[in-house]
Amino acid sequence: MFPYYEFSNGCRAPPWRQIQGEICYVLVKPHDAETLCITCSKEGVFLNGGKTDDEEEINYERKGEIYKDLVTLLREKSAKFSENMSQQEGRFNEEQQKEKDQPNEAPEEEAAALRKASTASRRSALEKKQISLGRSQMTKRLEPSLNWKTTVDAEENKSSLRDTQEEKHGGRLEKSRPSASPGRAQLLRKSAEKIEEIISESSSESEEDEEPPDHLQEANADLPSEYWQIQKLVKYLKGGNQTATVIALCSMKDFNLAQETCQLAIRDVGGLEVLINLLETDEVKCKIGSLKILKEISHNPQIRRNIVDLGGLPVMVNILDSPHKSLKCLAAETIANVAKFRRAWRAVRRHGGITKLVALLDCRQPSAEPAQPGLHEARDGEVARCGALALWSCSKSCANKEAIRRAGGIPLLARLLKTSREDMLIPVVATLQECASEENYRAAIKAERIIENLVKNLSSENKQLQEHCAMAICQCAEDEETRDLVRLRGGLRPLASLLSNTDNKERLAAVTGAVWKCSISKENVTKFREYKAIEALVGLLTDQPEEVLVNAVGALGECCQEPEGRVTVRKRGGLQPLVDLLVGTNRALLVNVTKAVGACAVEPESMMIIDHLDGVRLLWSLLKNPHPDVKASAAWALCPCIQNAKDAGEMVRSFVGGLELVVNLLKSDNKEVLASVCAAITNIAKDQENLAVITDHGVVPLLSKLANTNNDKLRRHLAEAISRCCMWGRNRVAFGKHKAVAPLVRNLKSNDTSVHRATAQALYQLSEDADNCVTMHEKGAVKVLLTSSVVQSQLCQCGLGRNLSDVKVLLKGVFEHTKLPTCCITAGCK
């Protein structure tokens, strides 16, 4: 194997030989023959002219027949090898059979093997001498041809893959969409990831968002004329002095570097190495020229990966220290383009790039530049802008967010936010928006009075800026104080007015997101009502992308917590589209829609409409949704529906299998689902007939089993459900039998008064049965109640809790007491 650099396409042959289809060169010393110098190419393997006198070169001319693989060739050349191979044959066939059985695995292994070629082949050259060859390794290397087949497959699929990639990069929505042939694409992606793991040294951070590197370029494809021209220019870059290099760089810049052919051509002729190498010289002009090219071609995901592989990032990070502003700018811009995946983010961070980039933001530095700025110089503001661009790219990683904060980036970003330059504001706001996902950033954003400026820029003319501002507000508005700040700074009006502008979907999604988060505060809802935002939101319920729908419905869900909001939604005809959305599949959307429908159902008039639209049945069928949060949200929404529906019992019974479904949900292991289902059961059980049905479905043992929980929300709704279910037949006794009483008594120790109240109510119901009273007494219900919360002193005064009959009175007293704060216990006592 020649010490050739391994190109990113896996080939080790020099570029001008790759064009001939050659992959790599192997030296083999068989036991009984001269050293063989072998070329491995697409066509097969053959002997070449051997090493020339010049140590590093070989004579590439073909000197023998082409064999289909290395083994055939070696068998032909070495009798000893042939003999030993026939011994291995038997086992080898087995292996092949196995590989045929798992056709999907094979290509992965082979691609991996090919990449390992350097060490493997050198080792195997030795091993072959002793014929103790690592057999598995051999088998993989036996069939280079198969690998080519997969490459062709990859080529076919590449277009579809690339489409999805472009979607990912073009649109801001990072969600991957199911591709047309998911199975196949997935398979490809999977194999690509496998290879990925091998080239990039094992990394702690996963790389799932990276693009698969392409395999060997189709050597037979017609190479465009650009390829040759670029190859020539790269030659000048390699062998020219500063002047020639600059000319070559300027000339290379004239190619359409946005075009993939040119980008890949530069890489394939070894241009990337040279360009990165140029960055390490101290020739400012060469560095500038090189960065100008790298900046353009790094828009290509594959090139980005190659740049990182070649160690380009540390070099660029170093350039950030340069006294030349234009160099700093270009380096930062290139980093902004390259740092789009984890390994790159990590590389920037590890080499101190974040600190340096943050330092670029500080444009108040004492100006030491000449009065007449140099030819290659840029303005300070430009430096800060490029720094912000790079930080924007890097801030997609959590560790980098933290690094930016620690480097003191937030105050600097806050200061830059005061400018009015849009091209500056966009990366600054976008960085803040990315970072605002972190709790301590939100605190800092509050402290630095950033919200004020975000609100101001909402009224900007620039759509992208508005979008990022709205996104940032959306992120920050998780915090109540921030929501108030947005209102106080007058941010709600621009948000509301942006709702009516529906052309730009990305921005609309961001704006509705901000409205949603802001509307969690009641005061904000009042304002939104004033600005007619609810009407606008209702208008957004149809013909919008899902991102917008999720947020808009979420906002309506919050607005409908108030009676005025519900009325507006009903009057504006929002119920129909809401109910229509219940049939969707988007999980986030379903959670929000169910919540909004539930909020509307609180109003009897709306409930009538929902019932009329068959909304209850749709909600009910969402209980079958695989996602627990959808189930829970649907169950919560059902509660007000059952409460407010006319003839609710009849309605519930009309859902075939509905009650059984609800009871079975009690087997879930999600606390939220359980709590919501308990709440639904409480409502269902108000109808005697339904209570009878769910009792038949075994609600009592299921509820009893849940009593051992420590989740206060579940405890409360469970207790309520139990006390409702006690109203039927011998359920009280059944609860006792299923050991529900003792844990319920324990629940009285909870710190939540609503749990106390509900539990006391349940115990009161259960205490109708004497056996339960005994249990309660044994488990020290009296004692617990005595020590629990407010009632303690009064109880002591009354001298209660000494005998069995007191338990009932006591419970009744507690129940009454917690319901009516005025002391009724004395009454119970008498």
Partner: protein, 232 residues
């Protein structure tokens, strides 16, 4: 030279020079006389830097290495073409050389590159200037072939009117598109590295900038030769 005369000279030069302030001009004048040596000014004898002395400065201070380009720079400074750079040529030349606007520098560089002064940079001139620009010749090729190709590439890039030579208009347009092409045929302005050093030490003394350049590092480390070794 007496104080009064120096004062007068400084004033007049400052007036004609927009890139240096009075203090800087004074320093440059002092430096000039230091470099020239203590020659008393007499009628009819030109006081000035000759070609070799000037080339030495270019090499030592600004890191220029190309003999031919240095020669051309000398001609660029020596406006009256008498073989000596006088004090006013010195100050004026340096003002473009160090602080010139893009326009001034373009004019200056074009003049440097236009070897025969006919207003065009011809293919031959380019070839002449670029002939040493490729260090490693591919052995099998005609060594001039690469240079010829490079000239063709340059023409394709810069010759907008396709007449096979560069007029000032061609050159200006190309440079405005890409400033890197200002010194397309060889470094004839101070190296930006040196400029950066100067920018840092600027307030102390204007001539601190004129420090010897550190040796070439990186790609072209073997490229530097002392100009004094080669006669012109």
């Amino acid at each position: 030279m007496n104080r009064k005369k120096l004062q007068k000279l400084t004033d007049s030069l400052t007036k004609n020079c927009k890139h240096f302030n009075k203090f800087e001009v004074k320093c440059l004048i002092n430096l000039f006389y230091n470099l020239v040596g203590d020659v008393t000014e007499r009628q009819g004898v030109v006081v000035g830097l000759d070609r070799n002395a000037f080339r030495n400065i270019l090499h030592m201070t600004f890191g220029m290495t190309d003999d031919m380009i240095m020669d051309r720079v000398f001609r660029g400074f020596d406006k009256d073409n008498d073989g000596y750079i006088t004090v006013s040529e010195w100050v004026y030349g340096l003002s473009v050389f160090l602080r010139g606007t893009l326009e001034e520098k373009m004019k200056y560089c074009f003049a440097v590159f236009d070897l025969n002064g006919d207003g065009f940079i011809s293919k031959e001139e380019m070839f002449h200037m670029l002939k040493n620009s490729l260090l490693k010749q591919p052995s099998e090729e005609d060594p001039d072939e690469g240079i010829k190709d490079l000239v063709e590439i340059t023409l394709r890039k810069m010759d907008h009117d396709h007449d096979g030579k560069l007029s000032f208009a061609d050159y200006e347009r190309a440079v405005r598109e890409e400033t890197l092409l200002l010194e397309a045929f060889g470094p004839c302005l101070p190296d930006p590295k040196v400029t950066a050093l100067r920018a840092q030490g600027r307030d102390q003394h204007v001539m601190q900038e004129l420090q010897p350049r550190t040796s070439w590092s990186g790609k072209w480390s073997d490229d530097s030769r002392s100009p004094t070794e080669n006669s012109c």
